[in-house]
Symmetry: C2
Subunit: 245 residues, 2 copies
């Protein structure tokens, strides 16, 4: 099943309002970490899988990429991208990542910010990515951390009666597959995969692991969103950079 | 501080009795996973870091290795190795892994079973290992899983009033360093490191990641030690295989 939660009107409204606030986990945790390891973009052809409203696509162009192709399943998101981050060097394509076929292209960089955990079939994605990369090309993606996706029940910060966070609950780690959670709306589906599956699938498809990041908040985030201090207690994201040999 | 808990008489007695029972996490979880990815041993020169009583050293010789050098800090363990697993092709050396200097050797395989989490200085270990490996040589080691070492408090299976395991508690993930626990005796010291530190340190020292395993129990283990079913809920170990370019 190809999930298109971002075309749920309620979800989309809440999500856009959150993203536009500039006060999110993306702004202070995930994006700074992604950008800290993004390779030199000058003259590069970039594919952005799950481009959303095009923030990262735009960032790539502003930092020298020659062209970005952004792909997203959501009509709402592609419309938003064409409104907020339109650029002559960016092509936004509305399509499920799973259906992507670009037989005439080879990319220098394939990026994907927090989309991989929505995809059911990770091995096929990685196989496709590997074929779409030039030799020496880089696959850089972020995903929810396996410690976060593991437990079937959600709201995994266990709290005392006064609401203080005691510790983070992990369970069902080796049972990969579908997890359902409430995030603005019911029935948001994510897919849990172990750290070893995330990494070995890349290795098995001819990619070399370059860097793994389990990011914490940047200092500015801790001031504006004090709860980000808990990112030091368990990571929310895993960022993986791999290159094609 | 170089820890030598295995020369504590009480600890050693309990530990040897446990290991000789043949009914341990090592027998059913960690060792099968290590052996499943051990490279061809025929004619190989092997270094075993934290060789303990020499079981793995002996296994390497029985599977074709030309010579094994086993290193362990513990006098008790080296004596045990010379009793139980003496072999003309094995040299057991009593020495802290941290003090190891073998300037005239290059190894085809460096293995280490559940010793790395006792070492305070992981980067220096990896630097040394990388220098001691032949080109194409393999570093294969197991360590306690970062999810297990993370929380400062131990006994992390949170249980209900009837003793059922509810979930596994993680905390303090990004605070690397010393953790103290009771394991037969008080004051057993282990060092917590994140997944990203474990892996990036290898990459930064010229090693290529080949495989990461978060093992579960083999079927025989589930019959003899039913509690190993909980290994599916959170992994106890991480096994990492990397090769020298």
């Amino acid at each position: 099943m190809k999930q298109n939660i971002y075309d749920n009107p309620l979800f989309f409204e809440k999500y856009i309002s959150l993203r536009n606030s500039g006060v999110t986990y993306n702004d202070f945790v995930e994006q700074p970490a992604m950008k800290s390891v993004i390779p030199t973009l000058h003259g590069k052809l970039v594919l952005d899988l799950g481009c959303g409203a095009g923030h990262l696509a735009r960032y790539c162009i502003e930092n020298g990429a020659s062209r970005v192709i952004g792909v997203d399943i959501s009509k709402n998101m592609i419309e938003q991208a064409n409104k907020e981050n339109k650029h002559e060097k960016i092509n936004y394509i509305r399509m499920p990542i799973e259906d992507l076929e670009l037989p005439d292209y080879k990319f220098d960089l394939i990026i994907s910010s927090l989309a991989v955990h929505y995809l059911e079939d990770y091995p096929t994605l990685v196989e496709k990515v590997s074929k779409l990369l030039n030799k020496g090309g880089v696959f850089l993606f972020s995903t929810e951390h396996p410690m976060v996706t593991a437990r079937r029940e959600k709201n995994n910060w266990i709290k005392d009666t006064e609401g203080n966070r005691l510790y983070y609950a992990v369970d069902h780690y080796q049972e990969e597959g579908k997890r359902e959670e409430h995030w603005y709306v019911n029935g948001v589906i994510k897919y849990h995969r172990t750290v070893s599956t995330l990494l070995n699938t890349l290795i098995n498809n001819g990619l070399i692991l370059e860097k793994i990041i389990e990011p914490q908040s940047i200092p500015a985030g801790l001031e504006i969103m004090p709860k980000l201090i808990h990112e030091a207690r368990k990571p929310s994201f895993m960022i993986i950079k791999a290159s094609k040999t």
